[in-house]
Amino acid sequence: MAVYKQSYRGYDGPLTPTWSRFLILPRYAFEEMRRSRFFTIFYLVSMAAPLIFGLTIYVEHNLTVLKMLQPGRNSLIAIDAHYFLNLLGWQSMMAFFLAAFVGPGQISPDLANNALPLYLARPFSRAEYVAGKMSVLLILMSIMTWIPGLLLFGLQGYLEGGGWTGKNLQIASAIFLGAWIWILLISLLALALSAWVKWKPMAGALLFGVFFVAAGFGGAINGILRTHWGQLLNISHLIGRVWVSMFDQPMQRGSGAVFFRVGRYEEIPIWCCWAALLAICGLCLYMLERKIRGAEVVR
């Protein structure tokens, strides 16, 4: 029989839902990370702050311990929006270091080794690829930021009682949304830089550069031109300002989260901060769109 007279029938069995397939990528990425001792130690250390914050909440509600620590005083520290804002600031900084460590390794090796066809020559889109790679960072950073934040919020509500949770729901929503904005921003930045430079150490260094050097450059603009608009280049200022507004904190000198302080009289309009953050995200998406291609064109 001639070859062309036969016809081959491919697989036509059951399939998993399309939306769930991107989760294959983080599964193996976590396996890989688990083998890194540095990563394991760093991740454990990053949980120290929530533990300390949790202990503080416990002590604050345990009169026996409180009297042992500070005789004659009924309160150790105010558990309020500022308290949770500081927790978010601390954990977000840890999340940033995590993104600088883990983020560049997500895409750059695939691009440097022409491995994208391996993923994209199947029923798996570029968006799913980016979502899969990004989900590694999103999951890890969620465990570091808003999940402990909300757990501590729940603990405080439980111990405080008397409708504290209901009265402070804005704090919970600010923790959740504020953390997600930060997580999305630095995940996109880490992936976009990783896709752009294709070299892991350089991508990590660039992330620090974007964060710290740009802030310094913005400071220099402010100093030279006697303006505040240089803050648009300062990502920590932008996110700090957004957090302050989400937590409904008064603007005063040094207000905001630890590492993300916003000085009074230095602030720029809140809509400008939102616009700048959106612009950064848009730029990152554009960079990813340009670089994540099944077959790279080398001219």
Binding site: G10, L15, T16, Y28, N113, P123
Partner: protein, 314 residues
């Protein structure tokens, strides 16, 4: 019923001002099809186009009747093994195939079963639990082939699949291609090893500078190359006499006694006339002919005639 071919309809692909492929019209039937051409001729571009990794600048492509605008269905039917030796870090051979099957949407049990089948088909079952990073070049090549075919595609696009394989592994891989081809799958292979292409191909596509210079069964392609005289080896008992008789004809360009003295290598512009002439000589002079066979209807010769020794168009 779906169209059984891969069809390129006036397809061009440009990278800015750089030409990838230009005005390609092809209909690739099932069986083994080899893409042959020098570096930069457009082989990989053609493969990337038919796997949907890049879109044509102009024209349309249909894979088994499906337009590339329906990638979910197309990718389910296509398996691609790229020329690049790249693997996700830290995976074993089993995990490598299994994870990409999950990405295809297979349920876990089915993915497990198909992974074992794929590993078995490339004789990698014993090495399945070792890290891919610890594999030899030949093993990596085989595990790549296994992942390309594990989901049961009807179209297998294999870019330089024989690279790095030792002779034994080459022979096994070629047998595998022939098996896939005989099952009615499209097996599209690019290779620089012309004698192997010759051995395995049902049809060839010759590319040069982004253009398809010839396509079809190799003997058919050779017969179309009219400006190059055909070479025919005639094994006989009186080569000297035969050579002298052949020289009398205008269409015979050259008649050379074979090195072993037991035949004549003839170059002719009219093969049909040569065969008639041979009949006549046999009748008239009692010449005993042992064999008559074309000597240049292989890929190597056609490549030399159409593309040239340096890879430039002849």
């Amino acid at each position: 019923m779906s169209e059984p071919s891969i069809v390129f309809d006036n397809v061009s692909r440009f990278y800015g001002e750089v030409l990838g492929v230009n005005r390609v019209n092809l209909s690739i039937p099932p069986g083994i099809t080899s893409l042959v051409g020098p570096n930069g001729s457009g082989k990989t571009t053609l493969m990337n186009l038919m796997t949907g990794l890049i879109r044509p600048t102009r024209g349309a492509i249909r894979v088994l009747g499906l337009p590339l605008e329906r990638p979910e269905e197309v990718f389910r039917r296509v398996g691609y093994c790229t020329q690049f030796d790249t693997f996700p870090k830290g995976l074993t051979g089993y995990e490598f195939i299994y994870s990409f099957l999950l990405m295809h949407g297979m349920v876990a049990a089915e993915a497990h079963k198909l992974t074992l089948q794929a590993l078995d088909s490339v004789s990698m079952t014993e090495a399945a639990d070792r890290l891919v990073a610890a594999y030899s070049k030949g093993m990596r090549q085989r595990i790549k082939l296994a992942q390309a075919m594990a989901h049961g595609p009807s179209v297998l696009v294999l870019d330089e699949p024989l690279n790095g394989l030792d002779p034994m592994a080459r022979a096994e891989t070629i047998t595998l291609f022939q098996k896939w081809g005989a099952e009615g799958r499209h097996v599209i292979v690019s290779s620089h090893v012309l004698h192997e292409v010759d051995r395995i191909s049902d049809q060839v596509i010759l590319l040069s500078h982004g253009y398809v210079v010839a396509e079809g069964e190799i003997q058919g392609v050779r017969s179309e190359v009219k400006d190059q005289p055909m070479q025919i080896l005639v094994r006989c008992d009186k080569p000297g006499m035969l050579a002298a008789r052949l020289f009398e004809r205008d269409h015979v360009v050259e008649a050379k006694i074979h090195a072993d003295g037991k035949g004549v290598l003839v170059r002719t512009r009219d093969a049909d006339s040569l065969y008639l002439l041979l009949n006549r000589i046999v009748m008239e002079s009692g010449l005993e002919i042992e064999a008559v066979a074309p000597a240049d209807d292989d890929v190597n010769s056609v490549y030399q005639y159409l593309i040239g020794p340096e890879g430039g168009a002849a």
